[in-house]
Subunit: 342 residues, 2 copies
Amino acid sequence: MLVGYQSWAFPSNPMILSTAVIGGPMEGRGPLADEFDLLHSDLRMQQKSWEQAERMLLDETCAKAIEKAGLSKDNITFFIAGDLMNQIISSSFAARTLSMPYLGIFGACSTSMEGLALASLMIDADSARYVMTGTVSHNAAAEKHYRYPTEYGAQKPPTAQWTVTAGGAAIVTANDGSGNHPIVTRATVGRVIDMGLTDPFNMGAAMAPAAFDTLVSHFRDFDLAYDYYDLIITGDLGKVGHRILLDLCEQHDVPVPRDRFKDAGMMVYGDIPDVWSGGSGCGCSASVAYGYVQRQLREGRVNRVLMVATGALLSPISYQQKETIPCIAHAAAMERGEGRKS
Amino acid sequence: MLVGYQSWAFPSNPMILSTAVIGGPMEGRGPLADEFDLLHSDLRMQQKSWEQAERMLLDETCAKAIEKAGLSKDNITFFIAGDLMNQIISSSFAARTLSMPYLGIFGACSTSMEGLALASLMIDADSARYVMTGTVSHNAAAEKHYRYPTEYGAQKPPTAQWTVTAGGAAIVTANDGSGNHPIVTRATVGRVIDMGLTDPFNMGAAMAPAAFDTLVSHFRDFDLAYDYYDLIITGDLGKVGHRILLDLCEQHDVPVPRDRFKDAGMMVYGDIPDVWSGGSGCGCSASVAYGYVQRQLREGRVNRVLMVATGALLSPISYQQKETIPCIAHAAAMERGEGRKS
């Protein structure tokens, strides 16, 4: 149901039946290591190429989500997925493995919440029984495609971010009041915001205004109190972008309490050195949303979380052609579901 | 509303308020030239690069669709778009120009019907006021990205297809019974079908089984008579893929009357030499669906059209890594709308 200008309310409270997150070696060193269903110690994951490793990561993440839901793949009505590779090839290969009706999406690192918003819309509109939405990123595959082959050993500035190696998937279905499943209550579709930045080693700064735009639109569309959410998780803005977002909120009198803000790019790696400003990639917000956030909601530590996933919609070609970086953020609200049927 | 396994019915009969199609020089030589709102005689379109030309083509197609609808861009709730470029950069740049909430999608050449299906779903679910969906492809940009730079002058086999230079866009809204607008009644989301083919110069053969799978699923899900549609337009299968699809129908006893089948890849260029098996690209099915089909429905020459847009979900990298070509087809049914409110 459309609310305001660009948001959806989901009055039937679609529930997140299961989620799965699988990571790589660097993710195992971070403070959220326990939130992953599985951590690979080998970045190659016994595959012949980085691309194949990324694909396998999404395959096994989806298989895990299906298993945790107690379903078989035949039960899933639609698979909605996207990733950072050219022509979202990891998702399309996963869709081939899964052999279920498939809708490819692209929102760069905001893909996780684009997928969750669409999945929830379909469930709320009685247009699917189970929707699985997933995304993936792989550090070495992304470095190879977007920047330099890591073998070059190029130095990076402190504003750079480290692409998270992780797959994340969620299965959304109609709320039957059973279990203790988090629910999806609202979503806001973002606009493309481009402040003219061109530096792919400072994506946090480029994306922060998009996160701000979607955040403000969300509160406006639903006329919510600024302290409604216990937690607002942006990302992947990293330390640099996070600071800019807080500044933007202050400058424009958006009184969300500062301590409610977290950023997935900062959460996933904590104080690990070598990741510069923090984590990034499709797997960053996905692993936080489908790992950490799910547990927080299931265990009742928080009741309402707004996930504002940000994406830098650049391609290596647009960068080479000296274009600026168009950015976007999609938001979805997840709430504690216990006892709350539609 | 979910129907069968993988289809949506749209009981409110969302209407296609306006469409626009803009093409290039080769499209102006084809039999559908009159169906374009505008034809560029210069493939470069006064831009500095093929990529910029493609982007401009989508920009102006969207502007034209908005103008023809009598709307301003502020009226559009959501823009759903995708294209063939890496990270669908043409669509993201168009979304920046349009400054409207944006959902990026990817279905390669099936993008047109993926977008129309999602747009219709949103309207039917009362989740948007106006949804614009668009896609674009540009011959030289696609050649550069997917095959050889055209300057190499490489010869192609007769199974190859010519990427259509065209943008296509449609604006979908709730049916208020006004005007003579075609309506969207049904859609079927395709599964990825991969028969193990690896030749990017024979995409029609790779995609035909996907078209067949979606076609059969559509008739099964809705339990429709095989002669229900006046016209079933696949594409872009081209001559080679079209013949394979007809053979598949015969082998599997799918008695759709043969003369009801057309293929967008064959329609757009007719008997023009130099296009081998026919047209392809996101702009192929989009320009036929949003040009020719709209006029046929508006003028009452046909009443029911099923568009089965096919996509080859390969990337240049997956091809180089000797992967097979995963294919998909998404179908949407458009019908004559005059006098038919929900």
